[in-house]
């Protein structure tokens, strides 16, 4: 076998060594993980947490993020409460379920008005899956830059919901005032 072919073969064999950590994730896996991380930087009113049996993360409509939220958190606790992931299909359902976090996909932006009416001044963190939802009253919105997930925070709106935000989260995300 010629020398060049041998060298080529050795390089290929080395590349076939057993796996190590791989790096590319599905977009919604990362978003699901970030949703849980947000809670470390947010404080819900004490009375609101005391009166709750669980920490509900609600997803408005069908979304790929639901599966990952369930995998990551349903056997864990957030804010010392057991986590439950629920899919809701109306603003009434969202209110009835006592969601602590409500995740909304951009295709449901027309429902935002009704959702906000039901959750206004209530400690429900509204996370939008597109920066456009900030215009509709969402508190935090994801966006993609350079193939990585980032987020924007509407600080004014979060304050109105009575959820406290750590300055650390404000430093990590992009703050917008609307």
């Amino acid at each position: 076998m010629k020398k060049n072919n041998k060298v080529f073969l050795v390089i290929l064999i080395l590349l076939f060594l057993p796996e190590m950590i791989f790096s590319q994730y599905n977009e919604y896996e990362i978003k699901a993980a970030m949703i849980g991380k947000f809670t470390l930087f947010l404080t819900w009113p004490k009375e609101n947490l005391k009166s709750s049996h669980d920490f509900k993360i609600c997803v408005f409509g069908k979304s790929p993020v639901t599966k990952y939220l369930k995998q990551m958190y349903e056997k864990n606790r957030l804010k010392s409460l057991p986590v439950k992931v629920v899919t809701v299909f109306s603003s009434d359902e969202a209110k009835k379920n006592g969601c602590k976090i409500l995740f909304i996909a951009p295709r449901y932006k027309k429902n935002m008005k009704y959702i906000l009416n039901k959750t206004i001044k209530k400690p429900v963190l509204i996370i939008g899956d597109s920066p456009a939802l900030l215009n509709y009253g969402a508190h935090i919105c994801f966006y993609i830059k350079d193939n990585t997930i980032r987020f924007k925070i509407n600080y004014k709106k979060i304050k109105e919901s009575k959820i406290s935000v750590s300055y650390l989260l404000l430093n990590i995300g992009e703050v917008v005032d609307q």
Partner: protein
Amino acid sequence: MRKIFIILITLSAITFLSFSKKPDTPSLVDLSLQDLMKLKISTTSKIKETIENSPASVVILTREEIRKYGYKSLADIIQNIPGFYMINDYYWLGSENFGVRGFFTPGVLNDFVILINGVNMIGDAYSDYSLSKINIPVEAIDRIEIVRGPMSIVYGSGAFLGAINIITNKEKISFASLSYGSCEYNKIFVRFFNGNKNTKININFSSYGDNGISVPYKKFTDNTFFLEKFGLSENSMTENVLKYRKSFIMSSGKYKNLYFDFSYNNTRKGVFDGFPSPPPGTFLNNAYLTLHLKYQNKIKKNIKTVLKATYLYDSFYWEYSFSKRELYATNYNNTLSYELETNLLYLPSKKIEFILGAVRHTIFYIFKTYDYPVFNILYENTKFTTDENINYTGIFFQLNYKANKKIFFSTGLRAERINKYKIKVLTSCGSNFCSQKKGEFEDDKIKLIPRLALIFKPSDFQSLKFIYGKAIKQPSLIQNVNQITTGYPTLSPAYIETFEFNYLYSPSKKALLSFSLYLNKIKDLIVKRNIYDPETNRWILHSTNSGKMETKGAELGIKLKPMKNINLNLNFTYQKTKNIEKGFKNIKPAYAPEQLAYLKADYTIGNISLAIIGRYVSKMFTLWDPAFVGDQNSIHRGRIGKPVSPYFTLDFNLRLENFPVKKFFTNIHTYNILNKEIRFPTTPGNSWAVLGTLDYGRTIIFSLGRYLK
């Protein structure tokens, strides 16, 4: 080489099986928020879904991959697509031409269609997609979708072996770059994007070229006597006679539901137009312009319509050089055409998608004139024209039905027709008018082109596809003109019928296995043959619909992530082509390598990415011509040239983002790093080059660019 094949396949299988476990998702929970924000999201899931659900054999390349691998041209991208192989004969209009799945047509590139942003980049005179007119720089490409297999149902005649759709107007980036390299390669590229959801504009501009390969003519031919006729010796070099310069500007825009695309290409390229070129060289000059408007509208929630209009201008001429001043030749071509298309997309339910389309392509101006007294009086001062428009009309429908999560079914039918048209060929000899020939293209029957595909997904990570399709290739205008000039009837379309089975297996994000079996049956292929005429006792060269071929093949593709930040792609093709035309059954087919292999590997760490591309093409024979006498004792008697040896080549790319400073990028690309002699088999157009033609040797290109936004 066969040993390497076997070892690679065995290793691939072993490693593939070791990746068959799904990863544990909760590990992300252990990362900090800042670390989560650094993770790159995978685009392959969308691409994988597109490939799995598409009722065709699809390969997709993103801007990110094109950037990582540093492809130097569109030809370089195409020749590295599994199943494709390049033959560059430096001929006339064809030059870079490609075989697909064991089938190759010498002459112009017309076995698959090429679209840019959905605009069909056809050359009307030869029904071709020559890269000399589609000289899109790789920096402009956001995404390229290659569909292998007959696609006439959607794209009409010409999509014989597939379709390539190049997207240039999706990514919201602006940058400029300069490149310089071997053979005086130089390029300037600028891209500008601006816009929002409702309004956007995108401009790509480039000017680039190089001096071509510089090798002695003895590398092309051992016939020194023939070279001397052109004032050349075996040691004369091809320096500067194959140089080229290409300029390209493309603009795309959107305003609400209205889209526009404009492109202008200008090429000046050194060629061998049937003979060697003494300095300064023989040059093809091509100007190609397209203007395209599209309007799409959602009439109802589940009904969408699209209206498209395209205007095309194609002009090319050659400047010839001969060693003797009294010899001369001219060749000038000009066509103008427009295309109107309308599509209706109807979704009566979540399970059903119905597409109805109609297209009309009209050539309303054709002018061709050529004067080759040095060759044959038949081609002396000749021009042809038509008195009426030439219309291609097609109607098609496609029905996609998703029975359930596991079964997807697609079927369609296209009806296509060309109107009858008359051609006038006028030949004059000096100041006297010699002859006028008239002919008519009469085959205006409706051609039906069916398609059927079934996709079965037994589980989330497996997919089986069964595809049946037909395609046609209508004779080009010039092919029919040549028939009339030589006194033969006009031609009919060629047909291809394809059966394909494809299996996709993707047990985890780290592994994807693809396996395909295919059978292509081609009949009524238009071939240029020397046919013996017993009446005149002469061999006469003309075209006929007598070609008949069959290709069978198997393709294995493996995608792996063996280590952090490493991607690996391997593809192997084994194919057998048979020429079943009468009198050719025992002749090994021409331009049909039996084995092809492709390797792509990249490693990214921070702002640095390293990539290698490997390509193997097995032995190829040249055309068998029964009239070719050659050396009576040679085993290659009848072959117009010598067979070419298999070749293996390796390219390397290094890309550095934010280097030398932030917002800049640097790229170093080495083509054919092993400096192998890559030889292409000679084609009928340049049969003087009996030893074949050569590709570039080791070529290094250095690029520096800056992001503007």
